[in-house]
């Protein structure tokens, strides 16, 4: 029998009087990959933060390798050889790659000066193992999200860890980067390093993990070997009920053309993109990372300037608009980068939810109808099953990662837009919530709005869209109707232009 490297007993944790972990007992086998799954707000990140020394448990004890372990700070966790890749990026965008890697333990010379040369050399050598190819002097603010996440992972592994915690590490990785991460995990496992892996992508969990634990509402409901369970079992354990369908369906009709763009060029990534969108239609945009799909959406919404091409909206030219004009015209854009662009972190949930719709709530004198606002906020929280303790006092930054996303989505949908642009709407969201989001998308379409969905998960697009257009290297590589959806042909189109990252 193998020994346990990490044992938790009766861990409890409250935030502002609300208990979010109700006495967790869990043991992690040495050298295993242990999956941790659960709905948004189940307490996964909180539990990991307790192990990582970021939060103190209110009650309970922990053992590492049979010895009592009482971390007072993240430093103590490092000393116990526990590395932690957080759910959100913890890099300093104003510093260089090298500085970020070494910031906790900068190499010093005789005069206590930072040895930049040595640090940069080590960075290159070190990152080579991760196949990350960046200049160590580059400031992090100039790097793509995927590269940043790779650096964050590399950084966590710089200490010779015995236990590595990955909290949703793949949310902004490209396919290639993700494969790379999985190779790293396999490598670590081969060196008998223990891994805790949190993800909402159950396929990945099954692919990687030996054991799987399920958290629901702050309690551990099950721990079992991966081969003894199935995807469906996991889901019902997570949500406490059975999910019948993955994708909802509604009856709807597709009407006249609403939005049309022709030969759009914008920035370095969008070269020649055309599409047309009809009333009641759900149009998917598929493309690999760097194909220009996100940039095309930004241009449509008016966030980026067009350098060529035309947009027609409801039959009228709509080309040099600002985001404000787009919103007024009934277009909504849920961005991919929700943390930076989508939320007012230090503001309460309700304020965040009402942000977009606020002007419409104002009466004649510009006074906001608070009651109505409250009702709308409640409806949104209910519809998306957002886990919020108190919508008036809880700040957006105190929500779990997935619930922050639901708030961003909720605030746009409340405005009942005619054109809803969604960039990766279900990233980091649990299976149950995915279903809710798909339902909302379908309902918007049924009410004769048009929906544009950008996603890197092809299955998701095939499940909800009426039509998919494929982008590759800034151009349209093809278009497929629902009846002809087929994974391979879509992938081929996407690859046609080559993945130029």
């Amino acid at each position: 029998m193998s020994t346990d490297i990490l044992t938790l007993k009766g861990i409890r944790k409250s935030f502002f009087g609300t208990e979010v972990l109700h006495g967790i007992d869990i043991s992690i086998r040495k050298g295993s990959v242990h999956g941790l799954v659960g709905e948004n707000g189940a307490g996964k990140s909180t539990l990991m933060n307790v192990i990582g020394g970021v939060f103190h448990a209110d009650e309970g004890e922990m053992m590492v390798d049979g010895k009592p372990y009482l971390p007072q700070s993240p430093k103590d966790a490092q000393k116990a050889h526990i590395a932690f890749v957080h759910q959100e990026l913890n890099l300093f965008s104003n510093l260089t790659v090298a500085e970020n890697l070494f910031i906790e333990d900068l190499p010093l010379g005789a005069f206590k000066q930072v040895k930049y040369k040595q640090m940069e050399k080590e960075t290159i050598k070190y990152l080579k193992d991760f196949q990350v190819n960046v200049n160590p002097k580059t400031k992090v603010e100039n790097l793509s999200m995927g590269v940043r996440q790779s650096i964050e992972i590399a950084k966590a592994l710089i200490i010779n860890a015995d236990v590595v915690i990955f909290d949703e590490p793949t949310t902004s990785l490209t396919k290639v980067e993700k494969d790379q991460l999985f190779r790293i995990i396999a490598d670590l496992k081969a060196r008998n390093v223990t891994i805790i892996y949190i993800s909402h992508i159950l396929e990945d969990v099954f692919e990687l993990c030996d054991d799987i634990s399920v958290l629901r509402d702050g309690s551990l409901v099950a721990t079992m070997p991966a081969e003894e369970t199935s995807r469906d079992d996991l889901i019902s354990l997570m949500v406490g009920r059975k999910l019948e369908n993955v994708y909802p369906t509604v009856e709807k009709t597709i009407g006249e053309e609403v939005l049309r763009c022709e030969h759009i060029a914008s920035g370095p990534l969008v070269k020649d993109a055309s599409l047309s969108l009809h009333r009641g239609e759900i149009l998917g945009v598929f493309g690999l990372m760097g194909s220009g799909r996100t940039e095309l959406m930004r241009a449509l919404f008016g966030l980026d300037k067009l350098s060529g091409g035309e947009i027609t909206y409801k039959g009228k030219p709509f080309t040099h608009h600002t985001p404000k004009q787009a919103i007024e015209a009934g277009i909504a854009f849920v961005t991919e980068d929700r943390r930076d662009e989508g939320l007012l972190m230090p503001k309460p949930v309700e304020e965040n939810l009402l942000l977009v719709h606020l002007p419409a709530l104002a009466g004649k004198l510009g006074v906001v109808d608070r009651k109505k606002g409250e009702d709308l906020a409640d409806q949104s929280i209910e519809a998306l099953h957002t886990k919020v303790q108190n919508k008036k006092t809880q700040m957006a930054c105190n929500l779990s990662g997935g619930n922050q996303q639901k708030v961003v989505l909720g605030k746009w949908i409340m405005h009942e837009p005619e054109v809803l642009i969604l960039d990766e709407p279900t990233r980091g969201v649990d299976v149950g919530a995915k279903y809710e989001i798909y339902t909302i998308i379908q309902e918007r379409a049924k009410e004769q709005s048009c929906v544009l969905v950008v996603s890197s998960e092809m299955e998701e697009l095939m499940g909800i869209c009426d039509r998919i257009v494929v982008m590759s290297a800034g151009r349209m590589a093809g278009e497929i109707e629902r009846s002809e959806f087929e994974q391979n042909s879509i992938m081929e189109m996407a690859l046609a232009g080559g993945e130029k990252a």
């Binding site: 020394g53 970021v54 700070s73 993240p74 430093k75 490092q78 957080h86 990026l89 913890n90 890099l91 300093f92 965008s93 104003n94 510093l95 500085e99 910031i103 906790e104 900068l106 010093l108 206590k112 000066q113 930072v114 930049y116 966030l303 980026d304 300037k305 961005t335 930076d340 662009e341």
Partner: protein, 330 residues
Amino acid sequence: MNEKTAKRFNLSWSRLYEYGVYVIFLLMVIVFAFSNPHFFTVKNAILIVEQSSPLMLGVCGMAFVLMLGGIDISAGANMYLSAVTSALVMQKFAAANGPGGPAVYLIGISTALLVGAAIGLVNGCFIVKFKMVPFIMTLAMTSVLTGIGLILTKAELLPVRASGFQPSSIRVGPVSMVVVIVLIFTVVFHYLLKYTVYGRQLTAQGNNEEAARKLGIRTERNAIIAYVICGAMAGFGGVLSAGQVGALSSNFAKGNEFDIIPAAVLGGISLFGGKGSILPGAVIGIVLVNTITNGLTMMAANPYVYTIVRGVIIFIAVMLDSINYKGELR
């Protein structure tokens, strides 16, 4: 979204004002030069450098606080109170041991450093431990410090030179010892910010405090130290400036924070934290601000015009910072 749109805006306009600050600066120099023949001379240039020096210390300290995303409005009042206490101590000492000699310098400067650091410590502790807004905390501090200074001096003119404290009379080549000391400190602080663990972690924390905490960086301690450095340097600058002026009026150093902060910001240190450096930006910034003051004085402009100009400088500095200016100066 805001930051990104700002960047984009910046890209398209950057050409236009990349050298904008220099152009304005140059124009002003030309106007000054034509209106007074004594302006564009070596002697006057040295004078400007001498006048900038004590404030430069303030800028060095302020750089640390700004790096954090904080601000210290009490820098001017700190200069005043530190100079007053130091002058009083030197007066006592000179009365007992006779004026002059290295001991007076030692005692004067250490008193100012200590008082300044203590003020910074109070600022830092309240801001960090009680999460007070830096602007309001240091604004309140300004009022308290000025009041104490006025009580100590009974609002009368306090002589400094009589104790034998005349740092500007010790010459090193064409400049005074003050300039040399300040240059050394500037280099040291630049080094501290760019090449030490403390400086780098402070820069990191100014960018993403949450992340810094999660990495186990001692954010609270670092922040308090930054305010202490800022306070100590203001105190040091205060006593050197007092030595230059020779006597302390109740208006001494009043509003100096509004030269120090814009100079740092014009020099590329962002009010939003995490950006910029002392060399060369902040040095150029303070010289620039002082050149304008000097020029206006020489033009014998209406003294109230200076207030307006100061306002305009603050406005330009903050505006450039807000739209993420990356022009030549930075």
